[in-house]
Amino acid sequence: MDLIGHLWLGLQTSASLANLFYCFVGVFLGTAIGVLPGLGPTATIAMLLPVTFVLPPVTALIMLAGIYYGSQYGGSTTSILVNLPGEAASVVTTLDGYQMARKGRAGAALAASAIGSFFAGTVATLLIAAFGPPMANMALRFGPAEYFSLMVMGLAASIVLAQGSLLHAIGMVVLGLLLGLIGTDVTSGIQRYTFGIFELADGIGFVTVAMGMFGLGEIIRNLEDEEQRSAIVSKITSLWPTKEDWRRMTPSILRGTAIGSVLGILPGSGSILGSFAAYSIEKKLSRNSSQFGTGAIEGVAAPESANNAGAQTSFIPMLTLGIPSNPVSALMVGAMIIHGIQPGPSVISEQPALFWGVVVSMWIGNLMLIILNLPLIGMWVRVIMIPYQYLYPGILVFCAIGVFSLKNAQFDIYLMGLFGVLGYVFSKLGCEAAPMLLAFILGPLMEEYLRRAMLLSRGNPWVFLQRPISATLLVIAVLALCSVLIPSFSKTREEAFVEGVG
């Protein structure tokens, strides 16, 4: 079958009434959580995972994916209107978006962001369709050594992209790997780190960790200073950009899409890196660079296109290799496993309707999002105004019942509480949780592939460097880690994060 045939199959799958409905639910919820500060896609997907168990796997994945890329749209709305990024990836949008809104051009900024995101989403969907199958074919030839090295590279990337100290990020990764090993060892059947606690024999569920660290931890942190959220919503006038706007934002959208798509594929990054890179590159290339920071439409269009492109292309490694590249896709890998689908290169050939259905649904979801976000902007403005004190007890309730329903165990509720404390303490110490969660998912897999690779090589550790693909991946990982130590790069890294926080 050719590309058209595949896309047609995907369209048939994703255009069924039920799938369209859940796609809408996904992007709607995604926009909502994107608009609401203090509730991110990781915690939301973790909360909703138990709900999706009753759905067929395609439908579940369509909805979960919709939450993720939908949150990228919603996050930009708050950035522009109230100068509060709803999502980490839309932090740079506040720089020019809010300035535009203050000048009475909120409508044009929202339109630039939505149109850019839609274009980027369309391109990214086509990229997944075009590059998915060849990548899966390549991955079918991967042995255990290649898989191990691939995971090392993914973790290295997540370390480089983590905020704060490099040493802390490495420590978080190692801790995540160790936590992932808790439970019964698959090869020998011996229990590890269970301390005789019966409930730990199956290991810790990743949803428990994700809800605790990202849901609870975030709530406690938000309770530190509640006064921040009293912002004045700017009035929205005409939504349609002027001719001049179109002329200025078109090249920015194209560049943003390209940068976001490429960076999104990198393991460990997702959409955040893309939006930062697109903004700084646009600032260098644009003829209007003097206007950046005072309300340049390019400064909205480029990062918004990039974060949406990156959010979608980050699904490529997950769908083709079965290796999650960020906490969100890690949760989706978990969802696939729960539905009895082993994520990996064989998914495309064995479950074509699932793969292509999810891919095409992303484009349909983007179409829904542009309608949800432009004409219905007034509704989201009202959602922004929901005070946080009425929001977080609800989040806690959903986390508590959700985590219980996974294994029907009270123990998981306590465990989630424990990880909530841990998540809060780590954030106070400047240790980012994202690399830890990724490592937590990859831990058991890494050990398994390491063991197999060593068995095949009869205990010769050089096997990882003798196989060309594996060696290349390891070299990339080492280069990535070393790049942080180069003074000029580490300075840019810090600046990017400082700009993000400020």
């Binding site: 709900v51 406690i220 009270q410 509480g417 809060y424 060593m454």
Partner: protein, 121 residues
């Protein structure tokens, strides 16, 4: 432990444990040499109330049932906010409880009692 050829269950954890020990040691030593920003104030009140309400919910839910354990969770956790008010919190607790009973217990079949055995439910 085993060998690199045939790894036992302790092989990988031992490597990781050693690595974490080294990282931790460097981190502690470094913190004495280089100065850094002090760690900000801990939101102790929020930390205690939020995690406390979760633990309380976990220990009460089977005995009391969702209809009582859930409002307890909502009210205690909401109390952590500086903008806490009794009226809206009670309305919110009631609304969330009804929603969860309908969606999670009736709709999705989560095996939790509405009224627990402690209340003769």
């Amino acid at each position: 432990m085993g060998t690199a050829f045939r790894m036992g269950p302790a092989y990988f954890p031992t490597i990781l444990g050693g690595l974490l020990f080294v990282i931790g040691t460097i981190s502690v030593i470094r913190s004495f040499i280089t100065g850094g920003d002090p760690i900000g104030r801990f939101a102790m009140w929020g930390l205690v109330l939020v995690t406390g309400s979760i633990f309380l919910f976990g220990s009460l839910v089977r005995g009391l049932g969702v209809a009582l354990a859930l409002p307890v969770l909502v009210v205690i956790s909401a109390y952590a906010s500086t903008k806490f008010r009794w009226g809206p919190t009670f309305i919110m607790a009631a609304g969330l409880t009804i929603f969860c009973v309908l969606v999670f217990l009736k709709g999705l079949g989560v095996p939790l009692p509405v009224l627990g055995p402690w209340l003769g439910g």
